[in-house]
């Protein structure tokens, strides 16, 4: 059961570097400081079609990410998609007539919720519902629209 000081030292270094690597991965490589841990408030929006939007998809305004999608549910009565979002508490001056659209980053990128401010002087707070929404653009619908409108012209 002899173990010299060198051995202990090397083992300590090994374990430390291993844990260090885990930290590196957690901090540098991922989004550990995740939005859900910061203070945030919840708002909801209803969409006819939420397309490829996923939980944890980003929510942005003016190109800045201010929150994330926290849940997506289906409304049995209105047959609409209910998207819940968490917005960082520091962004608490969003007018309550803000509109939400589902947009695509780049040409084939992931989908996100883009918020455009309205002009109201009252602000969104925890539990608010966004009234103005624009659904995701579904490529097939777009193409068929184009085809049919073309037909009509003839």
């Amino acid at each position: 059961m002899q173990h010299s000081n060198t051995l202990d030292l090397l083992v300590g270094l090994f374990v430390a570097s291993g844990i260090g690597a885990l930290f590196f991965l957690a901090m540098q490589v991922s989004n550990l400081s995740s939005f859900f841990e910061q203070d945030s408030y919840k708002i909801t929006a209803h969409f006819e079609n939420s397309g490829g939007l996923k939980v944890k998809s980003p929510v942005s305004m003016a190109g800045v990410r201010i929150g994330r999608v926290s849940a997506i549910h289906f409304d049995n009565k209105t047959y609409e998609s209910i998207v819940e979002m968490r917005i960082a508490s520091k962004y608490n001056t969003l007018p309550d007539d803000t509109s939400a659209s589902i947009l695509t980053a780049g040409l084939l990128g992931e989908q996100y919720v883009g918020l455009t401010p309205g002009g109201s002087e009252e602000f969104l707070h925890n539990g608010s519902v966004i009234d103005f929404t624009q659904s995701a653009i579904v490529l097939e619908n777009l193409v068929s629209q184009f085809l049919f409108s073309d037909k009509e012209k003839k």
């Binding site: 202990d8 083992v11 570097s17 291993g18 989004n31 550990l32």
Partner: protein
């Protein structure tokens, strides 16, 4: 007809081996209380199992990361998506290559060494001798090695992934001209701690558990001859490889299949 007989025979043998192996595992896990009072045993084994595998992990990780960046760049540039190189390298490493490749390397280096060591101890009657001295060889010899392997594996996998990402950075940003900021920012925004990193760690813990178990049991169960030990080390590496790859498929399907 003889082939069916042999098949049946082989299956029965495998099943009884699995049974013996499970009892062996339970017995080893029981050794936790014994080794907690003797931390020197684990530290010594951490050295043999972890520190000595360190070098091959670092070197392999570096090269794997660099190759990923190289290969990935050319494919991504077809879509004008070079800026995603960072996330591509990181995701491949953290989710799959880190845990799997480091586990395979671990099985080849540390696993076979463990099997040989235990097999040799069995052949030279050291295990028997210990029993006759009223010391439980499973608790004293096997358990420290088992827990050392369990601790080392996730650390080694994390090291592999980290060095791989750095290697990918060197090639991608340094040599191929991908933008440094984009490399990291795409990675950070798309890589999720819980889904990607934690899952990778869970995978490596599972691999460490299975590989170390196989390595120790093959050594313990071997015929105490030089031929037997040799065959046991081969079986360790082969069976570990099967187990790692099979479990990887299973775990990937469970963890990453729900999106």
């Amino acid at each position: 007809m003889q082939i069916f007989q042999q098949l049946g025979h082989a299956t029965l043998n495998s099943l009884s081996k699995l049974g013996r192996g499970t009892f062996f595992l339970m017995h080893s896990l029981n050794g936790l209380t014994y080794i907690l009072i003797r931390p020197g045993l684990i530290i010594r084994q951490l050295y043999f199992v972890g520190v000595l595998t360190f070098l091959i992990i670092i070197v392999s990780g570096l090269f794997v990361g660099m190759v990923l960046a190289l290969q990935g760049y050319y494919t991504l540039s077809d879509f004008g998506a070079e800026e995603s190189l960072g996330i591509m390298v990181a995701a491949s490493l953290v989710r799959e290559l880190g845990p799997v490749v480091s586990a395979l390397l671990y099985a080849g280096r540390a696993g076979s060494a463990l099997t040989a060591e235990i097999g040799l101890m069995k052949a030279t009657e050291q295990l028997s001798g210990m029993e006759m001295m009223a010391v439980d060889p499973v608790k004293r010899i096997i358990a420290p090695r088992f827990y050392a392997g369990l601790i080392s594996m996730p650390l080694l996998a994390a090291l592999f992934s980290m060095i791989g990402i750095i290697g990918g950075h060197i090639v991608g940003v340094g040599l191929l001209g991908v933008d440094d900021g984009a490399f990291w920012s795409h990675m950070q925004s798309s890589m999720d701690f819980y889904d990607d990193i934690l899952n990778g760690v869970i995978k490596s813990i599972v691999f460490g558990f299975i590989t170390t178990w196989i390595a120790l049991f093959e050594g313990y169960d071997t015929l105490p001859t030089s031929e037997g030990v040799g065959r046991a080390t081969t079986r360790t590496v082969v069976n570990s490889a099967f187990a790692i790859l099979g479990l990887d498929f299973l775990l990937t399907a469970i963890m990453f299949g729900d999106d």
